[in-house]
């Protein structure tokens, strides 16, 4: 019996490993082939849900609304003042952070009451070129990104991304809660 046990020990069970490399290569090549490298980038938006015809849309106070109109020629009108596309960013900032104490802006009566209440409405004509619209929308979003970054820096993070990564797990996104990106795409006037 003892001799039998000894024999078994000497047998040294081995799994053939020479094919492991081939399996690994196969997996590697499979993933190489199926993954597409270019990441899709774009400007994310959420459309408003379909309105019930019997219920009126929730009212927005006039002063909280920043109306941006873009016409066929790509000219921009902000709250009835003609302005350039590169002014949009600053205007949106001024509008949103109007009565926010930490922003150091004067509280003006014709701009928003609080960052969370501000709404930016973009209205285009039907003939407005798409890239002009995207430019304006981009400026509005960049304005919000910059505001979030500034707010994140104020509360001790490097930037907004850093805040999202390092904020306590149970904490709601405070910055997003404070400065809501309310961007509405208005229907063009029937013409």
């Amino acid at each position: 019996m003892a001799g039998l046990l000894g024999k078994k020990k000497n047998r040294e069970p081995e799994i053939p490993t020479s094919s492991m490399a081939d399996i690994a290569f196969l997996l590697l090549i499979f993933f190489l082939v199926t993954t597409t490298i270019d990441v899709d980038t774009g400007i994310g938006m959420v459309l408003p849900p379909k309105l019930d015809e019997n219920i009126d849309p929730p009212p927005v106070k006039e002063r909280n609304m920043l109306k941006i109109l873009v016409n066929e020629q790509g000219l921009v009108l902000m709250d009835d003042r003609p302005s350039a596309v590169n002014q949009v960013r600053e205007e949106v900032r001024k509008h949103v952070l109007n009565c926010y104490a930490n922003a150091g802006l004067e509280c003006v009566s014709n701009r928003s009451e609080a960052p969370g209440k501000a709404v930016v409405s973009i209205k285009t004509a039907r003939q407005t070129p798409y890239n002009v619209y995207i430019n304006v929308l981009d400026e509005v979003w960049m304005s919000y990104f910059e505001m979030w970054d500034a707010e994140a820096r104020r509360i001790g993070y490097r930037n907004y991304e850093d805040y999202v990564d390092r904020k306590p797990a149970e904490e709601e996104n405070r910055i997003r809660e404070l400065i809501k990106a309310n961007i509405s795409i208005a229907e063009p006037d029937a013409a």
């Binding site: 053939p16 081939d22 400007i43 959420v46 849900p49 285009t124 039907r126 798409y130 995207i134 063009p188």
Partner: protein, 150 residues
């Protein structure tokens, strides 16, 4: 009895590995042949606009595309604005609603990526968006390129 055991222990218990690479290559070639990288041919021109405020979509499987742009015709001419979903040009915009609703049922977290040519007019984009609202696919994404700083 012990003689029998001795005999068994002496036989080599190895699987011949010489043919393994061949099997692997066969598998590899099978996958190479069957995987399809892109199944749609875009029939409209979509020169995307560029923007700075970009978000990335990591989960490709959530994304469904709508192409809007001038139709590509023969010999490099371009025609009227067309809307394409998957492989087909959409003639009647109300079908966008049905198609997108069907996709939403399959994938409730659907993101619709609008790949719109920069020269297109807003009218058609807004019409498509209206259809998307009807379908209930509210998460959209205006596909843009990264702006190169001048």
């Amino acid at each position: 009895m012990s003689k029998h055991f001795k005999k068994k222990a002496a036989t080599k218990q190895e699987i011949p590995t010489a043919s393994l690479p061949d099997i692997i290559f066969m598998l590899l070639i099978f996958f190479m042949v069957t995987t399809v990288l892109r199944e749609t041919t875009v029939q409209v021109r979509t020169m995307l606009p560029s923007a700075e405020a970009l978000t990335k979509i990591d989960q490709k499987r959530l994304v469904s595309y709508i192409w809007i742009g001038p139709r590509k015709l023969a010999d490099n001419r371009i025609g009227d604005t067309g809307v394409q979903i998957d492989d087909a040009l959409i003639e009647d915009l109300t079908t966008v609603r049905t198609i997108m609703y069907g996709k939403l049922v399959e994938q409730p977290k659907l993101i619709v990526s609008l790949r719109v040519d920069q020269k297109s007019e807003m009218g058609i984009v807004l019409n498509v968006q209206q259809e998307l609202r009807e379908a209930g696919t509210l998460r959209i994404n205006y596909s843009t390129k990264r702006q190169v700083e001048a």
